[in-house]
Symmetry: C2
Subunit: 242 residues, 2 copies
């Protein structure tokens, strides 16, 4: 699949009828990135269909009435059903494709992981505010929880000796630390002394195959945000590279 | 356990050390009600400890740093851990106590149920607005989705021939239809022609043992809201009855 974004007048995408999952996505969306990470980590084949969110193609509303992305079309199921909500899609994928499980099996460990993912909602809100020129300290305070948690677990990843669901669900905003650095310049005050475990974890995560498959340079993310702020988001910044 | 609400200066509650789950709750909170419904439907024994949310007792912050309810303390587990977030608590309970399962087993059916629960967030927001004197139509529009879904399923309950997770997760706001009627008087325009399936479902649900165990008359709910609007919420309205 091309990464060209599909516009309002685009015909239904010409995806082969091969029974392979279709992910309606947006290349710069951190929530969509969560689903790409899980699909890639579990090595589940899928087609990516990137959507222009400013001028959504009409057919996306046939796929899901709210026109949201990420949306996963289960082409082999009767309907076919289209799932939305990044976390729910990831849970479904982990249950439906049991190889390389990402959630813990034990109900208590599983709910504790989900609570840490839920709690990250406040952290990602703080990220968006910091990225938008607001205070950075609330974002660092949010990350303190995950620094302590990783220190407590004494493992390479939140998932243990390999990546797990919590690693991938928080990664999109951690990848964007470099974007924040670029945006905030000298005001950027990430402190390696404050986040010793997360600093090592960030380097490990950058070498993870699923992370590498969807990694985006901060300069490209910044350029997309610039075009969006200017009222003309360029969803196709990466097209030449693919 | 008494239903007396515990105030800021209350000592840690005197609950027997009997290994039984402890639910920190608030008697008038629809989110807490979800957890009571699931515990009662699955016949899991638990102690209810009702909290005064306006003047929270200090020890609740030791149980969970955000001081939230509902919160479920797993007294038999090392820690002991305290779970928050009504939906996550309910999922945990259904996995940990497999008798009388409430979620579908099939991953696709399960995620579809979770999507309908997620989608109800907009409906309950619309309920609160209508209850607060705002427009009622957005709430009815939200319920249209569930009317159509129940008609499509052709079952007695969303869960099939018996109640399931979706029935219980949306019930607290459906129980409050009578509260809305009381609050809005002649403006209340619930339409049985528009909601034929939901109308029958409401009557069936009112006879469900778990629903009956936590059911509250609209007059009592209304009286609580009146005391809250007046700045002096009376959390103990039900104390005499227990």
């Amino acid at each position: 699949m091309s990464t060209t974004c599909l516009l309002a007048d685009s015909p239904t995408p010409d995806v082969p009828e091969d029974g392979i999952l279709r992910l309606y996505s947006m290349r710069f969306c951190p929530f969509a990135q969560r689903v790409h990470l899980v699909l890639d980590a579990k090595q589940i084949p899928y087609h990516s269909i990137y959507i222009n969110l400013t001028e959504k193609p009409d057919w996306i509303f046939e796929k899901n009435p709210q026109g949201k992305v990420p949306a996963l079309e289960l082409v082999r199921e009767p309907g076919p059903p289209v799932l939305t909500e990044s976390l729910l899609i990831c849970e479904y994928l982990d249950e439906q494709y049991p190889l390389r499980p990402l959630y813990p099996r034990d109900p208590l460990k599983k709910v504790q992981e989900k609570l840490l993912i839920e709690r990250f909602n406040a952290v990602l809100d703080a990220f968006f505010k910091a990225s938008d020129g607001g205070e950075m300290e609330p974002f660092w305070c949010g990350l303190d929880v995950y620094e302590r948690e990783l220190a407590r677990r004494e493992t390479l990843y939140f998932g243990g000796e390999q990546t797990g669901i919590l690693d991938y669900m928080i990664w999109p905003w951690c990848e964007r630390l470099e974007l924040l650095k670029l945006q905030r310049g000298e005001e950027y005050n990430y402190d390696e002394q404050r986040f010793p475990q997360l600093t090592l974890w960030l380097e490990r995560m950058k070498r993870d195959p699923a992370v590498m498959a969807f990694y985006m340079e901060a300069e490209v993310q910044a350029e997309f945000l610039r075009t969006r702020s200017a009222g003309k988001p360029n969803y196709n910044l990466l097209v030449k590279e693919t």
